[in-house]
Amino acid sequence: MSKPKDEADGNPQYARPEIDWESRAYWEGAGRGELVLQRCRACRVVQHRPRGFCVSCLSDEIEHFVASGRGEVYTYSIVRQNPMPRFRDALPYVVAYVQLEEGPQLLTNIVDCDPDSVSIGMPVRVDFVSTEGGLGVPRFVPA
């Protein structure tokens, strides 16, 4: 998986994420260029977003693993209006839910392509932007 790019990559919207002890491993992983998901050792369900315990069987036996980073677009929209300064400069941009190989979907942006070329079912792979604090934010690019 690629190491995160610098924030000054034309993506001012990727501010340092607010982390807590349940989600920290995910954001630290993103800082290392890894997409980190949780799996329950007891019931084997892969869950996202992260919790301190398994919400399928309530077990504490959560383990973190590095996911493949591959998935496909489940749905998306091209945002053309957003007054927030952080996002205004990035318009138009694509928000999407990506269905990961491992099962869960996650909300993200699809970047490095013409927004009009995005389609449901399109294969994508994860890419990271680094933020301060050694953390990162994942987004996806055409595979």
Partner: protein, 271 residues
């Protein structure tokens, strides 16, 4: 600086470390160079060492942790003796897969380091003991007035002389902040444990047979009695040398982190 929780006997222990983050179930990555493990003082916590760890950069690596009941570790009364604290430290080093770390002990942390050196000398790379000495100068009066604090009958005391005179408001604020992050009940347990252990050391229960490179470091701004205790400690340990750092007092680890880091490097070279 990366932080993670490791769980020992159901108690979450906060560990800070240099280098990259790792998955929660994995230890920090070890560097190619020497590793230091910092042991905090009574009533304090690992945040005291954040500047020192920053100054002790790659290829070396460093860790510090909060003892149970201190800082952001869990529990309150899990450890009540220097011996138990040393067991926790050994366990952390083991979990983090540290190879013969150099222990940096501050105040009570120095006693923990000495206890470790006595029980498992082969697992150590060296000792750097700062703001410490034999007998520790803990009086019954100190203990009683702290007990009053834990009963809510007195406010927690702040001793500005723990940083060097003319230190300026930033260091003073830092000293104050570091002093309020641990429950005073833990401080009380720490002082009682420290006194008991160092009485034993002086009596000869813990023969001064510690045989690894040792540096006693003391801030020049510490009280004369502290400087004397540091000298006595240096002469009690076979391979110990004493060094005084100007412009710092008891909070040497964040008053003069670069100076302390270079003392540590000298020990690392001697190993």
């Amino acid at each position: 600086m990366p932080e993670k929780y490791v769980h020992r006997k159901g108690i979450p222990l906060l560990v800070r470390h240099t280098g990259e983050t790792t998955l929660p179930q994995n230890p920090p990555q070890s560097g190619a160079g020497p590793t230091i493990l910092c042991l905090h003082d009574a009533g304090l916590q690992s945040s005291v060492f954040s500047d020192l760890l920053d100054a002790f950069g790659p290829p070396a690596s460093g860790l510090s942790f909060d003892l149970p009941g201190h800082g952001r570790s869990g529990s309150l009364d899990a450890v009540s003796s220097i011996e138990e604290m040393a067991e926790v430290a050994v366990w952390i080093a083991d979990w983090c897969q540290l190879e013969r770390p150099i222990l940096v002990g501050h105040g009570m942390g120095a006693l923990v380091a000495l206890e470790w050196a006595h029980t498992k000398p082969e697992s150590l790379g060296g000792l750097v003991l700062c703001g410490a000495g034999l007998a520790m100068g803990i009086t019954q009066e100190t203990i009683e007035s702290l007990r009053q604090v834990t009963f809510g009958k007195a406010p927690r005391p702040f001793d500005p002389s723990r940083v060097a005179r003319d230190s300026g408001p930033e260091l003073m604020k830092r000293a104050y902040r570091e002093g309020i992050q641990t429950d005073p009940r833990a401080t009380l347990v720490d002082l009682v444990a420290s006194r008991r252990w160092s009485d034993g050391f002086v009596r000869g229960d813990r023969p001064p047979s510690i045989d690894c490179p040792t540096r006693i470091v003391c801030g020049a701004g510490e009280a004369t009695a502290c400087l004397e205790r540091a000298e006595k400690l240096a002469s009690a340990l076979p391979r110990a040398t004493l060094s005084i750092v100007e412009g710092a007092a008891h909070f040497l680890p964040f008053e003069k982190p670069a100076a302390l880091a270079s003392e540590i490097r000298k020990i690392a070279e001697a190993v």
